[in-house]
Symmetry: C2
Subunit: 400 residues, 2 copies
């Protein structure tokens, strides 16, 4: 195989292809296949929404085996709220992939993202599966990252190298988000691929922990998708002894994985529908981590806070109010709020630096809101974006 | 006193006045006084936000007495997050009113609505208190309803008569809301006045129960204000024997009160910032009322549902998704959804009537979303409005 530029940073043994199935409408590649030349260990994290898309339910069943070799992903249709028919379609597509790749159906995972409530156009999907299987190649990862987009405005890829003794392993992650992080109910899909050998249970634990502090700490509009899925495949083709939690190299593997999921999360929020600003909200001094997380999420999900940031208005009163209705234990008169380095609130009252803080908001596309509750030692960080007229426009017109 | 048109439907013994204190900016009447010629029974319901404005904290202290005679209300400044100074200002304004009206300070309640975190401009408020006391008149209720507005686009008044044996009592309610029902953190203020004699505890219970199914079942953006207050004053000047829960006339009194709070709630939602549509969400067939309420609120607070309604898009998948993340117990495949009379979802899947439902949304300014979970007998209704570009605009520019 001739190595080209796009091969750079692709883990060993992974191949990719894309095709056009005109799922929502014609004119773009909207279906993609990810394939590992050897059977891989696999782990997954899925939406906790009670309404789960058919592919999510199917993948949850399969993933208990801990093994996988292929992932088929389509955009344009979520295959959610599609009843028995939806499940049959998910099973059939996985089986078609398994036949074409000559691997067990249990090793094929399916993911969908897009409109809810409309059955998959199976007559247009069936014919392209063979094409996808034939066209697999090492240099198509970028195309996969584009094919899985819905309202995303740019593909999201993060690649990292990990040194394991005398070998250099690779981890790549791609994802789609946009919308509202549960955008149009099709939300976040993330695929992480590595040639590093990682023991099944360790892989599962590493993914769960990593997702908790990345994808689970971002919010665009507070809605949660029926399709959210993060899968990690480790095919071991680097040839290292399988990592477990006691391995010397586990820590660097885990740190790298955390960096990848955090960077991908940040890319998702940056690409929030209509967003003009990335907002990092950190709550410190909470009585426990749960309280810190709850408070940070309430502030992040407040439409009033989000529109204020959009309008470059250091309206810290809206932040105080969101803390107030979050339900956590805290004291108004102990609370301090900073926008960037500018302390706007001290002991619960204004410091008179609002106009300075307005300037900070105006001059930055990435803004930090730091809240210190001064009531304990726990903290949590949540990423979100501002709420704009464009968000409304995109979501009012999504299906039209 | 010469009776004029505006006196019609004003309960006996209540007088009103307004003045300009240029609280946020000059050019409008922004402070109002409500006065009862005789001491009245009073009851109140207040925000559950932990961050409570100074006037809210003061009123909560006073109301345990069950007695009141005057309410001073200002718009333009919420006197919230203003620390000790804020409380001193609230106490001082109440005292000034008490001196001018020659009544006990304990009988004077104060309410504020507007921007958070800025101290009240006391130098401009002090001088107008005497003017307010002097200008009290029976025909100024409409002016009070206008003076308490912030981003409201119209004053909100509801008047009803109640027949109590051979006498005819009157109940009037005025309120301000707009924004996001916790608009700009200044939200909902409601004042209900009646000349019907109602026993203290009964009045309190009636108000609480009535608020629960009206003001507590509306949501514009899910934020909850630091200042939400509903007060009811019953001065007994009709001369009827004091009503209690066993009185024959209690039921009609309570029903009328419920109608007033529900109609006022509807007016608030209709006037939601930037709203073009009123949305009534009813969840039926839930396992219990709490679950029904939770589900209805999650749907009502979903930005995706609200933008879909704005875009006349019968995107029922977003409703399913909101039910799914509400955390309540229900079965996707038992769920039916109607928009108006059009059944768009049956047993969790689409019925193919989306284009018909799109037309329904397009042709109506008041739309109904009826969700039947088919899992029990409990139900709940929540009112909300759509989310528009105008909402974003109003809230991005509120303080500028």
């Amino acid at each position: 195989m001739i190595k080209n530029k796009s091969d750079a940073g692709i883990p060993k043994g992974f191949l990719f292809s894309v095709a056009e199935a005109a799922i929502k409408k014609p004119g773009r590649k909207d279906i993609a296949l990810i394939y590992s030349e050897s059977e891989a260990n696999i782990a997954g994290a899925f939406t906790t929404n009670k309404v789960k898309a058919a592919p999510v339910r199917l993948d949850i069943e399969k993933i208990s085996s801990g093994k996988g070799q292929a992932i088929l992903v389509n955009s344009g249709n979520a295959n959610a709220c599609t009843g028995m028919k939806g499940m049959q379609d998910a099973v059939e597509t996985a089986e078609l992939v398994s036949k074409n790749l000559k691997i067990e159906p249990s090793l094929v995972y399916v993911c969908s993202t897009g409109v809810i409530g409309t059955p998959l156009p199976m007559d247009r999907i069936r014919p392209v599966i063979a094409e996808l299987s034939k066209n697999l190649g090492k240099s198509n990862l970028d195309k996969v990252a584009s094919a899985i987009m819905t309202t995303d405005t740019f593909p999201k890829i993060v690649k990292k190298k990990v040194k394991i003794k005398n070998k250099t392993g690779t981890i790549v992650g791609i994802c789609k988000g946009a919308g509202m992080i549960c955008p149009n109910m099709a939300t976040m899909l993330c695929f992480i691929l590595t040639d590093i050998a990682v023991e099944e249970k360790t892989l599962n634990k590493a993914l769960r922990d990593s997702v908790k502090k990345s994808f689970n700490r971002i919010t665009i509009d507070g809605d949660m998708s029926t399709n959210d899925t993060a899968l990690i495949m480790a095919n071991g083709m680097l040839g290292n002894p399988e990592l477990n939690e006691k391995s010397a190299a586990y820590e660097i593997f885990k740190k790298t994985l955390d960096k990848i999921t955090y960077e991908l999360s940040k890319l998702i929020v940056k690409d929030g529908e209509g967003a003009t600003k990335l907002i990092e909200i950190e709550v410190k001094g909470a009585v426990n981590e749960k309280a810190a997380e709850k408070a940070a999420f309430e502030v992040a999900n407040s439409n009033l806070v989000k529109t204020a940031v959009y309008g470059n208005d250091a309206n810290w009163g809206r932040i105080m109010a969101a803390l107030g209705y979050s339900g956590i234990d805290f004291f108004e008169d102990k609370t301090a709020i900073q926008l960037g380095n500018i302390r706007v609130t001290e002991r619960g009252v204004g410091t008179g630096k609002d106009s300075e803080a307005n300037k900070y908001l105006k001059n930055n596309r990435e803004v930090k809101i730091l809240i210190n509750l001064n009531s304990g030692n726990a903290s949590a960080k949540v990423l979100t974006c501002d709420l704009t007229e464009e968000y409304v426009r995109v979501n009012a017109e999504y299906r039209t």
